[in-house]
């Protein structure tokens, strides 16, 4: 079920109303049924994978906690990790690996006999497998006592607001909340609804409208010139941010209405002054997952310098692969890894540059240089993320460097067919870019505004959703991961 569908508009109020009417002892049952319903509205048969993931990790965590023998504990951990990664690998990476092997063998003049499978990628598989794995690893590390309650654990795996595209929750934060009573709290419900509304605005009015400009350009990049591709990439940067952060806002808001707190997933990432800071503000739940369950086990930064760089690079390479079974994503991850390693290698040089130019003494000026520079690097990397093939990405990057063609192509693409539509989309996007930090604080409760101002603001946001929203059940971009 999509958040931006009629079904969800009926489903959520009904679940929320029943939730608060029900005896607190049975609320988890309602949420579990609702979560399975939510998932099965897409493809009922794929719910089996949720059941398997739940049973495997419940059993493995009980096995780990029930033994003091390190070998037994490790066996249970391996059982969980191999099962989860096995499911993920088969459904998400089999065809990618098979296709790669076929190309390699074909290039060597051989014949690769294995056919691709035609199974559909289960929605949210990358998210819930990582969430369940983190639970078992935390139990193995003795950070967490495993729960005996299979039902509530199943709810931790499937909790519908964040099941399909995160935030990837951690058991110490989310699981205990399923054991608490949540009384109806008006202030909390209103805050949740406000965050949901802002999420819908970002998805319907900004992301999906920008998609109408970006998609045709990226679907046929060779028909466009450099300036058009630069604009399309810039707009894609806004589109993906609004799309993904919209999902997180709706998920966090919906959970909050039901009395649960999910972790923050985005913190105005395009205001970052380094790639490192960008990753502490973008898809925070995934970055921290990789930090805790891959980077630190690899040794983190408490190793030799070259190994530290290697660890960083590997983490981002894997993160790229997590996003999608395509070499474009692997390269995207590698590029971010390379940016981070380069930033570490050249840090002394950069410090000296700051000292010589006087930027070191003027943090405001340094920020004014670093924020746009970081944004440009992120922008370049989005080309790899959005392009269909590496060839196309290479061509786009090459054309983006060539701005001699003038603005005629850009004018034609934007304003010859649907000028009003293009202009309103650009106005909303620019307005969003300017006001996002302020509104983000307001929506997340970090900044207060007088009540009448809030009525006008949220009333206008809702009216804008209806008037300017692009409807038609467009899926969220991160659903494909």
């Amino acid at each position: 079920m999509l958040f931006n569908s009629f079904e969800f508009a009926v489903f959520f109020p009904v679940v929320a109303a029943l939730y608060f009417l029900l005896d607190p002892r049975w609320r988890w049952v309602l949420l579990l049924i609702a979560s399975y319903w939510f998932y099965m509205a897409w493809r009922a048969e794929y719910a089996v994978l949720l059941v398997v993931s739940t049973i495997v990790d419940y059993t493995a965590s009980r096995g780990i906690a029930g033994s003091e023998d390190p070998r037994t504990r490790k066996r249970w951990l391996l059982f969980s990790i191999l099962t989860n990664l096995g499911i993920l690998g088969f459904f998400k990476y089999f065809n990618f690996l098979n296709g790669t092997l076929r190309s390699v063998v074909g290039a060597a003049g051989g014949h690769w006999p294995v056919q691709d499978t035609d199974v559909l990628l289960p929605m949210g598989i990358s998210f819930y497998t990582f969430q369940t794995m983190s639970y078992t690893i935390d139990v193995y590390r003795r950070v967490l006592q495993p729960t005996r309650h299979l039902g509530r654990f199943a709810l931790y795996v499937t909790f519908f607001p964040q099941l399909v595209a995160g935030p990837i929750e951690r058991a110490p934060n989310l699981l205990p909340q399923f054991f608490r009573d949540h009384d109806f709290d008006q202030a909390r419900v209103i805050r949740g609804l406000k965050q949901m509304l802002w999420g819908f605005f970002k998805k319907l009015v900004i992301a999906d409208r920008l998609g109408l400009i970006v998609d045709p350009i990226y679907d046929a990049p060779r028909q466009h010139d450099g300036p058009t591709l630069v604009l399309a990439t810039f707009l894609f940067a806004l589109q993906i941010y609004c799309d993904f952060s919209a999902y997180s806002d709706i998920a966090i808001g919906a959970a909050r209405v039901l009395g649960h707190d999910l972790m923050e997933n985005f913190r105005t990432p395009y205001l970052s002054s380094s790639i490192r800071e960008f990753w502490s503000r973008w898809h925070i739940s995934l970055s921290t997952w990789f930090r805790d369950y891959l980077y630190i086990p690899l040794g983190g930064n408490r190793v030799l310098k070259w190994r530290w760089y290697f660890n960083l690079f590997v983490v981002f390479l894997v993160s790229g692969l997590w996003h999608g079974a395509n070499w474009t994503f692997v390269l995207w991850g590698a590029l971010h890894g390379a940016f981070l390693v380069a930033a570490l290698i050249f840090a002394p040089l950069w410090e000296r540059f700051n000292a010589v130019t006087g930027l070191a003494r003027r943090p405001g000026w340094r920020q004014a240089v670093n924020v746009p520079a970081t944004f440009v690097l992120v922008l370049l990397s989005w080309v790899l993320f959005r392009a269909r093939t590496i060839d196309a990405a290479g061509w786009i990057l090459h054309e983006m460097m060539d701005l001699r063609t003038g603005l005629e192509g850009l004018r034609h693409t934007l304003f010859d067919h649907a000028p009003v539509m293009a202009l309103t989309s650009l106005l909303f996007a620019m307005g969003f870019l300017v006001f996002d930090p302020l509104i983000d604080d307001l929506v997340k409760g970090r900044r207060a505004a007088p009540r009448p101002v809030q009525y006008v603001f949220y009333g206008a946001v809702m009216a804008a959703c209806l008037l300017f929203g692009h409807f038609g059940n467009t899926a969220f971009i991160y659903f494909q991961f």
Partner: protein, 310 residues
């Protein structure tokens, strides 16, 4: 209760902002066209053959046969041919009309005792439609407010609300355009024909919209309940189009209406017309094709005793 108290000013602000915004977008223009049509492309202008058709149609008159369906219906079923042969006929087809739209038109405008036979064109494209285009067209152009509301709400889509708002904001507005191909009795026939045979994308999977399937079943039940004979019909298709897909579709259709369902007259490939001379595009009959098809259909209806011989 406190939540409700806070919801009221919020809802008032929302409704106020929405109405002011809508009013502004209806009154500000670009190249003479209200901005609302550029901002929300799913909103269609009042006017065209649908407007002309529903202005002409009188639900209180008596008709021997009424046609319903998408553009296949109003382009391919020529009511004038039936009239020339002594039958009072009217074509209530409209652009991309889905089964949901046909159902509500039938329910609200086709009164029992006033119509002897309903012929519903069941072109597969209309069964695959999400009904947004057709509802938008009908909500702007049909005279009945109640029917417009029913269709807009049946869409289960916020765009339905925008369609209704536009209907009321444009209430006193004259139609934006007229369709020169429109003819009395609801038909809209084109005289041009294909110069180059089109290429067909064959093997495209069928994607019947469950909502449309549901409304087709409701239409069948409604006709049965009102004792109005219903015929499902498919007009001629170019021979070069995807015949296998069509066969799969008609099988699905038969399953959907069941063995006791209405008669299905499938003329899609049962003809000797030329793909180039009798069609004006990939699957719409031109006036010459519509004349031949209407003759064939009338003969078939007479043969099956669905219309008396005159």
């Amino acid at each position: 209760m406190r939540l409700l108290k806070r919801a009221i000013p919020f809802l008032a602000t929302f409704i106020g902002a929405y109405l002011i915004g809508f009013w502004a977008l209806c009154h500000l223009t670009h190249n003479g066209t209200p901005l609302i049509f550029s901002i929300a492309p799913e909103l269609l202008m009042k006017g065209g053959d649908t407007y002309q058709r529903f202005q002409e149609f009188d639900p209180d008159s008596t008709y021997d046969v009424v046609f319903l369906g998408s553009s296949h219906a109003y382009r391919g079923y020529d009511p004038a041919y039936f009239t020339r042969h002594g039958y009072a006929a009217f074509n209530l087809g409209s652009s991309a009309q889905s089964q949901m739209n046909s159902y509500y038109l039938l329910k609200d405008l086709v009164h029992p005792g006033h119509v002897r036979l309903v012929v519903l064109d069941v072109y597969e494209g209309a069964m695959e439609s999400d009904a947004v285009e057709s509802t938008s067209d009908l909500v702007q152009n049909i005279p009945s407010d109640a029917t417009a509301w029913r269709m807009a709400l049946a869409l289960h889509d916020p765009r339905g609300l925008n369609m209704l708002a536009l209907r009321y904001f444009m209430k006193g507005h004259a139609p934006f355009y007229r369709d020169p191909t429109y003819r009395a009795g609801g038909g809209a026939l084109r005289t041009d024909s294909l110069k180059v045979p089109p290429r067909y994308d064959k093997g495209r999977p069928l994607r019947i919209d469950p909502l449309q399937a549901h409304y087709l079943q409701r239409t069948v039940a409604l006709c049965r309940e009102r004792n109005i004979p219903l015929v499902l019909s498919e007009h001629y298709f170019p021979h070069a189009s995807d015949q296998a897909r069509h066969a799969a579709y008609t099988d699905h259709l038969r399953d959907l209406v069941g063995p006791d369902g209405p008669v299905l007259i499938d003329k899609a490939y049962d003809h000797h017309l030329s793909d180039r001379d009798h069609f004006f595009d990939r699957n719409h009959l031109n006036a010459a094709g519509a004349e031949l098809f209407s003759a064939d259909l009338l003969a078939e209806l007479q043969k099956r005793d669905l219309l008396p011989t005159r």
